[in-house]
């Protein structure tokens, strides 16, 4: 199949970018989206033009590195699919595709389709952990955890930290990411001791970098792991409780 790509090219964080048009020719319908970009890059190198920089690593949909806005959709048209898992069979011969980096002020562009997502690590530093020094843990089966609870924690923990939720959000908000990371720990018995400090800490660092949530739901639709916005509601509830509790105990 043959496609026309309009790709955002930007040489560095502080220089203006622009769209460039490239033809992707003779692409196999079985190849992945990123393999299609590999092919375009090989041709660019052949023509002595600098290849397009894009984020990728595992190409199995789990490391969370990849992410491209494809025709305005984070990770493209297929539901619950990261860019690396997108295959060309979902597109049609002759399609024109617009490729942009994640669009959010919390994710500044580094080069071409590559952005800086380090704000996510800072949200984790603000409390996204359970304090347990190595070697101090009791036997793993000492505390039974109901399967339902463990499953909810796992649903939240499935987040791969790709940032599609932020990129898809008209407000550039990071509520889905933050709430997934938060509720994974907040629903588990092990996470109770630090629950409210964790909640307040993470939410407030999130707000330093990202916009506000207005319940648009775009994040859930874009999430490659199908994480539910119910977690945002749970986070809001915990945050309100945290504001009262933390004030009382202060």
């Amino acid at each position: 199949m043959n496609l026309t790509l309009r790709v955002w090219r930007q040489a560095g964080p502080d220089v203006p970018g622009r769209f460039e048009t490239y033809e992707a020719k003779n692409i196999s319908v079985d190849s992945s989206f990123l393999e299609m970009l590999d092919t375009v890059n090989e041709e660019l190198i052949d023509k002595n033009e600098e290849p397009i920089e894009f984020m990728h690593d595992c190409r199995e949909g789990i490391c969370g590195t990849c992410g491209i806005m494809i025709n305005g959709q984070a990770h493209g048209p297929q539901a619950q699919t990261s860019t690396c898992q997108l295959h060309m069979r979902v597109f049609n011969d002759g399609d024109e595709l617009i490729l942009e980096p994640w669009r959010a002020s919390g994710f500044p562009v580094v080069k071409d389709l590559v952005v800086d997502r380090s704000a996510f690590d800072q949200i984790i530093q603000a409390g996204g952990f359970i304090t347990v020094s190595t070697g101090s843990a009791p036997d793993a089966n000492l505390q039974p955890i109901p399967k339902e609870t463990a499953d909810i924690a796992m649903d939240a923990a499935a987040c791969i930290g790709c940032g599609a939720c932020v990129a898809a959000c008209p407000n550039g908000a990071a509520q889905l990411f933050t709430s997934a990371k938060l509720m994974h720990l907040n629903v588990l018995p092990q996470g109770q001791a630090e629950r409210y400090q964790r909640t307040e800490g993470m939410v407030e660092v999130m707000e330093e970098f990202f916009g506000s949530c207005t319940n648009m739901g775009e994040c859930e639709a874009a999430c490659p792991k199908g994480i539910s916005i119910d977690f945002i509601a749970a986070m809001n509830r915990d945050y309100r409780k945290a504001k009262f509790r933390n004030r009382r105990s202060a």
Partner: protein
């Protein structure tokens, strides 16, 4: 040839580690902050080590070339992590895990190391549960287990099909806690390009920031490498695209011996490749073999769809050849068996390059819901890639390079042959011998990082109390930085005609053809003449555009592929001198009458460790004899 000292402590196997922990020197709590430690890599081994060292009070600098420590390739492990908890009373024990691992590795690993690994496996599960890792549970709230290849007990803990991700997130969160506490200084987008050695001791590293191109120097009292494996030397593997050998290889060139480089694991269940332009292979978890049955048609000219082929025309070859382990035969054996039937012309799929992994029987026995509960995310992943639904039609699978048991040679303390330079996880030559059992990589990475290195590094540091680290203005740092800059300038100035990927693909073909699932003297000798020729061509004709002072992934890849050329040659040389078959190393000249690996214990019960001598074609060979005092060396049988 020298004989290497593995520093295995005396005493009975069961108490070696316990006694050794007491005998090793300690650094007092108040003195730990006087020591700086560099940890390179933030996968399971690196993140757990950096977090634990930070907790203990050392000053840690952690480096990853990813944009976040959470992206390391450990994250891709699907199936699970082994531990000898024996929560199900099915006969498991520390000794059985030890036994299975040594046997699974075809008796080419150290008894003492493997016993320690099995022993601390239980602590890992405790630690991870306390961190909030959402392992699968039964309705009573207790932890669930499943079984993996090479074991007759269910000892594998798992978190849906994302065990690696969940364990890594646990270690990453522990690491970020230390970053917030300022015991760990985190350097993301930072690739280590050289180790600096001063007076025979590791003194620091040279790092390039991948986003700005800035080169920086970092010094410390000890350097820990947890930089993963080198499967990408084959170009097509299940490893993430950026996995590479550069950190380990640069350490090798500075004096760290490289152990058993030819030991490569070919995983039996990956999705077969489609065409020339495929960039990587995708693994389907070994856990699928719990319920999936592997078969090919009896007739090479079979044209019917899988579902239309009646039972009597199918060959469930693993169940036939290995009745007691069946579809859960170890990885090396299952992979080779698949190669045999495909070479016989009985492969399936459009390119006849795969075998069926069939869930029809499991769906009938357990119901669709139970099968979905266990494997739905894997089935979805498969469908996204191939466009086929495994509920309707059997999966097509074929072996793919997946893991490398070889790596930097380390002693019982995980120290390389360079004092103060340690290697953890897949980066070391490890505890897996010639073949790793499923769900043991996560176990080893976390064992090294949480429960071994934090003790052994204290023994190295304690006598250094009062000594300051080498200053980064030392001449050795000048030389190392100049070399790094020189290499970058060299790559950018070649201005040839072919891309880095082109060379990588060509190297991969040589490696797969001659140093892959089956090796012969003739093929390896051919590879040893082709690789240096291709390497020369690379240095004359590679084309890298752009500059060194911005993000430039072609430039990054060039350095990694350049190191793969040198490593690839060493792998072939190692495979050539090991005149036996063992585990993942199958020399066609050495097989039993029924086609199984034929070991030669009288001549090859040793680790081969290679020393860099200044040129990739002339390494020196050293050996460490493997002593088996507890287990009897036996021909491996899974029949």
């Amino acid at each position: 040839m020298t004989v290497l000292d593995s520093r295995i402590p005396d005493g009975p196997l069961e108490t070696k580690w316990e006694n050794h922990k007491f005998n090793m020197r300690l650094v007092a709590p108040g003195n730990k902050r006087k020591f700086d430690i560099i940890v390179v890599g933030t996968g399971l081994a690196g993140a757990s080590a950096a977090a634990t060292l930070g907790e203990l009070g050392y000053n840690v600098k952690a480096f990853t070339f990813h944009d976040s420590p959470r992206r390391a390739h450990s994250i891709s492990a699907q199936g699970g992590i082994n531990a000898a908890k024996s929560y199900h009373g099915d006969g498991d024990s520390v000794f059985r895990l030890f036994y299975d691992t040594v046997k699974g590795g075809d008796y080419r690993s150290r008894e003492a190391n493997v016993y320690r690994l099995a022993d601390v496996s239980n602590n890992i599960i405790d630690q991870c549960v306390a961190q909030g890792v959402p392992f699968a549970r039964e309705y009573g709230g207790f932890l669930d287990n499943r079984s993996f290849g090479g074991a007759q007990v269910a000892r594998t803990f798992y978190a849906r099909g994302q065990t690696g991700q969940q364990l890594l997130i646990g270690a990453y969160q522990a690491l970020e806690r230390q970053v917030a506490l300022k015991t760990v200084e985190m350097h993301t987008d930072s690739e280590m390009l050289d180790v600096v050695v001063v007076d025979g001791k590791a003194a620091g590293i040279i790092v390039r920031n991948l986003k700005t191109g800035e080169i920086s120097r970092h010094s410390a009292h000890a350097v820990v490498l947890a930089t993963g494996g080198y499967s990408n030397v084959f170009y097509l593997s299940t490893n993430a695209m950026t996995c590479n050998v550069t950190a380990a290889w640069r350490a090798h060139r500075k004096g760290a011996y490289f152990g058993n480089p030819c030991y490569t694991q070919i995983h039996p269940t990956a999705i077969p490749s489609n065409d020339e332009f495929q960039s990587k292979l995708t693994l389907m978890s070994e856990s699928l073999r719990n319920d999936g049955r592997i078969w090919v048609p009896n007739d090479p000219d079979e044209t019917r769809a899988a579902a239309d082929i009646p039972e009597e025309d199918r060959d469930y070859y693993l169940e036939r050849k290995y009745p007691s382990y069946g579809n859960l035969a170890p990885r090396d054996i299952s992979s080779r068996a698949a190669k045999v039937v495909v070479d016989e012309g009985r492969g399936i799929g459009p390119l006849k390059n795969g075998v069926y992994l069939d869930f029809a029987a499991a769906i009938e026995r357990l119901g669709r819901d139970t099968v979905a509960e266990r494997y739905s995310n894997l089935f979805e992943m498969y469908e996204r890639i191939t466009g086929e639904n495994p509920f309707e039609t059997p999966m097509r699978i074929y072996p793919a390079v997946h893991y490398t048991m070889g790596g930097l040679w380390v002693d019982y303390h995980l120290q390389t042959t360079v004092a103060g330079l340690f290697a953890l996880g897949e980066a070391n030559f490890s505890d897996h011998g010639a073949n790793r059992l499923g769900a043991s990589a996560l176990m080893q990475g976390l064992a090294d990082g949480y429960f071994v290195l934090p003790y052994t590094i204290g023994d190295y540091l304690a006598p250094l109390l009062g000594e300051s680290k080498v200053d980064t203005s030392a001449a050795e740092f000048d030389t190392a930085e100049a070399e790094v800059r020189g290499r970058i300038d060299q790559f950018l100035s070649i201005k040839g005609t072919r891309s880095v990927d082109w060379f990588h693909r060509e190297l991969g073909k040589i490696m797969w053809d001659y140093c892959g699932m089956e090796r012969t003297r003739e093929g390896l000798e051919k590879a040893l003449s082709e690789i240096p020729a291709l390497r020369d061509e690379f240095y004359a004709d590679v084309r890298i555009l752009g500059s060194g002072d911005t993000l430039n992934s072609s430039l990054e890849k060039a350095g990694r592929v350049a190191d793969f050329f040198e490593l690839g040659e060493l792998m072939c040389r190692d495979a050539l001198v090991r005149e036996e078959s063992c585990g993942g190393h199958f020399r066609a000249e050495h097989q039993t009458d029924d086609g199984e690996a034929q070991r030669d214990d009288s001549n090859f019960a040793h680790v081969t460790a290679w020393e860099w001598t200044g040129h990739p074609s002339t390494p020196n060979e050293h050996r460490e004899k493997l002593e088996f005092s507890t287990l009897e060396l036996a021909q491996r049988s899974y029949k």
